[in-house]
Amino acid sequence: MHIMEGYLPVKHAIGWSIASAPFLGLGLHRISRWTRDNPSGKLFLGACAGFAFVLSALKIPSVTGSCSHPTGIGLGAVLLGPFPMMVLGTIVLLFQALFLAHGGLTTLGANAFSMCIVGSFLAWGVNRTAIGLRVPQGGALFMAAALSDLGTYMVTSFQLGLAFPSVQGGVLASTAKFFVIFVPTQLPLAISEGLLTVFVVNLLRSHLGNDKRFPVLNGAS
């Protein structure tokens, strides 16, 4: 989902950076509060960041004949709440922008907005809603991670559509064009990300036991 370096017009690049900044500021604040209030809190942050590092390094083939990668945002957003994960996800984006020429510094704001901010809110919100509807925890978690992954790529499509409206049909037509590139490829990957997230939460539950801080660990499967 990374919009490549320099591929957003200056105004868009600045606009998305301004839009992302307050969320990341709040995220940093929540992280410092979390590490202060929780013994071995840093290890939780590390584990969630680690999962995002692994998943976003895996370029997986899809049924459309192209490759893409999952985001790994859902796990941390459900476990820690949406705000800390926004910062951890942005670190992943920064790493890839600096050392892999994947994404970029000028597009960091836009990429952080789609993957970290929308992705985190989606995962957290879907999990909450599903639990409210009495979906078993494993299913709720699967939907949270998969929809957060898919939603990220939908936002990317919209960001590109907004920046490059078609001569005929404008923003909507060109959003649809990017949507067709990203979303069908991402569909099986989103399912994979959902399965892997449930797997890791199962491991966490086996090894952490019934940690009261994380209601999600009480009933995953």
Partner: protein, 100 residues
Amino acid sequence: METKTKNILLVGGTVAMSVFALAFPRPATGEPFGGSDDQACAAIAEIDPGYKPWFSSLWEPPSGEIESLIFGLQAASGAGVLCYALGFWRGRRRTEGENA
């Protein structure tokens, strides 16, 4: 179902899905199993042929090999931290069980 069985199915399902994807017909144009990011760049060039990226990456991996090295490092460091945490918690839980 036991958690262990479920975990095997979860990981097996993920692997099966990507292997299954390889069997699908490749698109007539473009590199087979290329990145969807590159396709997006091609689409931008199609919509707005005059657009020139106004900034380029400060540093690019000099070759595909170096790029795969850094991707490997990214995955390994992430897995390292995640598995350190899992092992740490597993060990702590075991010792707590012995002391109780």
